[in-house]
Subunit: 475 residues, 2 copies
Amino acid sequence: MEKQIRLNALDMNCVGGTPGLWPHPADETLRYNQLSYWTGLAKLLERGLFDALFIADIFGVYDVYAGDAGAAFRNAVEFPVNDPWVLLPAMALVTEHLSFGVTGTATYEPPYSFARRLSTLDHLTGGRLAWNIVTGYLDSAARAFGRNGQLPHDERYEMAEEFMEVVYKLWEGSWEDDAVRRDKAARVFARSEKIHKVRHHGHYFRMEGYHLCEPSPQRTPILFQAGASARGRRFAARHAECVFVSGSDPAAVAQITRDVRARVREEGRDPESVLIFCAIVVVADESGRAAEAKLADYEKHASLEGSLALLSGYMGVDLSSIDLNDPLRSREFDAIQSCVDRFSRIDPHRKWTFRDAVSRFGVAGYKPMLVGSPETAADGLIRWMREADLDGFNLEYIVNPGDFEAFVELVIPELQRKGVYKTAYAQGTLREKMFGRGPRLPASHPAARFRQDQNAPNLARISSEESGKLPRNSR
Amino acid sequence: MEKQIRLNALDMNCVGGTPGLWPHPADETLRYNQLSYWTGLAKLLERGLFDALFIADIFGVYDVYAGDAGAAFRNAVEFPVNDPWVLLPAMALVTEHLSFGVTGTATYEPPYSFARRLSTLDHLTGGRLAWNIVTGYLDSAARAFGRNGQLPHDERYEMAEEFMEVVYKLWEGSWEDDAVRRDKAARVFARSEKIHKVRHHGHYFRMEGYHLCEPSPQRTPILFQAGASARGRRFAARHAECVFVSGSDPAAVAQITRDVRARVREEGRDPESVLIFCAIVVVADESGRAAEAKLADYEKHASLEGSLALLSGYMGVDLSSIDLNDPLRSREFDAIQSCVDRFSRIDPHRKWTFRDAVSRFGVAGYKPMLVGSPETAADGLIRWMREADLDGFNLEYIVNPGDFEAFVELVIPELQRKGVYKTAYAQGTLREKMFGRGPRLPASHPAARFRQDQNAPNLARISSEESGKLPRNSR
């Protein structure tokens, strides 16, 4: 049987997905600050049996281009960007099965209140919560939180490792499974000897306290990670249950998925227990011709200035002085080169100028695009699944909700006809839906070491006074 | 015309309001971790035209009694306690007018992300947001956030003053009123010259960045404060639009309201522009006899152990070794004495033992209780309004939702008949509903000094590098 495609839709609590498309007449993302925008989207995605709505997030602004944030402000380039977490309960109320993944930084917020917020959401959604662990990449975010600048890249991951240790202790170790009685007749809410104080005195974090929440359905929410660097992939291999990858063609992504699965194995975990999702954009319509016309219309709305602001922020290089007519590969900067490489892989036979590349970026970012009829789109997705050894996709939009509507109405039925997409939701929490087991993390996951209600001899102490590095799994 | 009574209902994202009543057969607060509990409560309160649901919160646990948290765990004494903020969007979705006030500490979270969360909620609720500013009172909370213990009481307020300065700069100063264009035709989201970077380098907080949210309906949410100390009342007099007070009888509360209004005047603000709410518990039924029987039934459920755990935490004194049969006033400790004073004022003619006082505390806390028929309850509220110069009440429950249901079904119609309670909601944001003007803070409020789009000569600079103390209002 063909592998089943899993699907997340990607959005962000801001105006527009790709810079410059929000002014498109059919785009409704200006309503991002209204509840009805989000409840409508959630209902649409549940109609299409999407596994989850994934909400990206960023602190800070894109102020590298031309040395200020003007272009980002004019074009609403991921700014303003509202808090994503508070959206979930309203969407959970109008859906039954759709899950919600949210980007949260392991850099700027105290782990104690962060862990409480996520536990609360796992309770309120009935275990439909996922967390995308990020470390941030904008200096402006670091300054907004009172630092002089970001920590070095790899050190941000060291800090994130310690953040994970603290939240694992809180989620997995503070309350034993049978701590909660909720017994009205006996007048006992919880058994005090089953609730443990977490003590963490580490290099970056220090705390001492009980987790404020009784165990939620999943305890630790499903863990997403998208690190692209070697250090980021090592982090993902240890912690992530779902890994986000991106690349311009299936062969390039296949290299990444091989590497991710090999690293997961090195961490003592089952390589098939990690689900890999690739970012993709699908522009579908009744016919291939209609889809091409739709894309051509989208392209007219792309914003060169907005794209340059976003790209400059991604790369940390001010692109305001480049000559847009220069051919790609003509630049010396390493940072730009890596960007250029990505674009040139999208269509290696084309002579790309900077303007071409930025325009393409302004429509669909770095992501590969499938454009065509429902059958073309479905076949393309199946080909990506096979050739890149994927488990599913993070579907991004150009115009919202139009692109998601077209996908739900046209492409989902085609995928179902081809037998590669579910026709009903599975029962249970997101972890049970995704993996067919759960609702808690498996014993092979490093978080399981912090559980206090097992007699395993290698159990980590959640109350050790010395900085515990997260204990290594036996290999 | 008789002054109109304003009403907030009080709840907390935890099991039970008063310790020990959650096992009552009619109490549903064990469902605090389900969305339906909160949407049901919100709809009930909107049916009763309540102004707001106020959600209290606490970080940390009550671990003073007997030197550990066992009694708090067994009796679910404000523990577990989930995140309150994320409840709001689900309740906003099922209501149109009800507002939401949430307790948030100005001590433990970074102001940058805190300000974003509140702006997001003010957007999503259409300006139905209030914030109850607290500084915390549990050492266990301080340790959970990595400190050795709390700052001294008055210094916590100094820190809160600086926290307010940072969030005012973000909410009021970062975006000018005409910064947002949202112009699809012109392809301009915002005018970059109208968005200002906030720089704050103070004693407790340091940050540099643009507020991440476009202006929400109220910008600064309605500000609640409940400080009872002299320093706390000075803080409230400067910042609060609504002040929470409590006391055992109208005469005692009248002293407090006089003091609050005098302090507001000293801060250069109109004393009548601050609304004063008194905590109260109402046990109402069809007849006085039925109400008394209801209370007698509640009293049977009170938890002595839970009450002692909560009281010990409030007072910071371990009460586990007291003799419950001792008469009140026999103790030497100052901290207990202040507690004893409160109880003895409730009924000065009664000879209270410690056990009596703790049992009374276990039903309705320190709060005064009105028990009786709808007419008795309504007359009691009107008497409190007059004698204590109040603007309204924070209505607390013993059993939930029963006590709120009885109030909505029985007491609200009686108040309406007597002409002291609205028969329909006013339009607009919470600030417009509460004050008949808005939706922004008036120019006389200290936050207004941080607005950048006025030409007032005494305008505070939001970007001053030196620690700006919040500028004093002209008096």
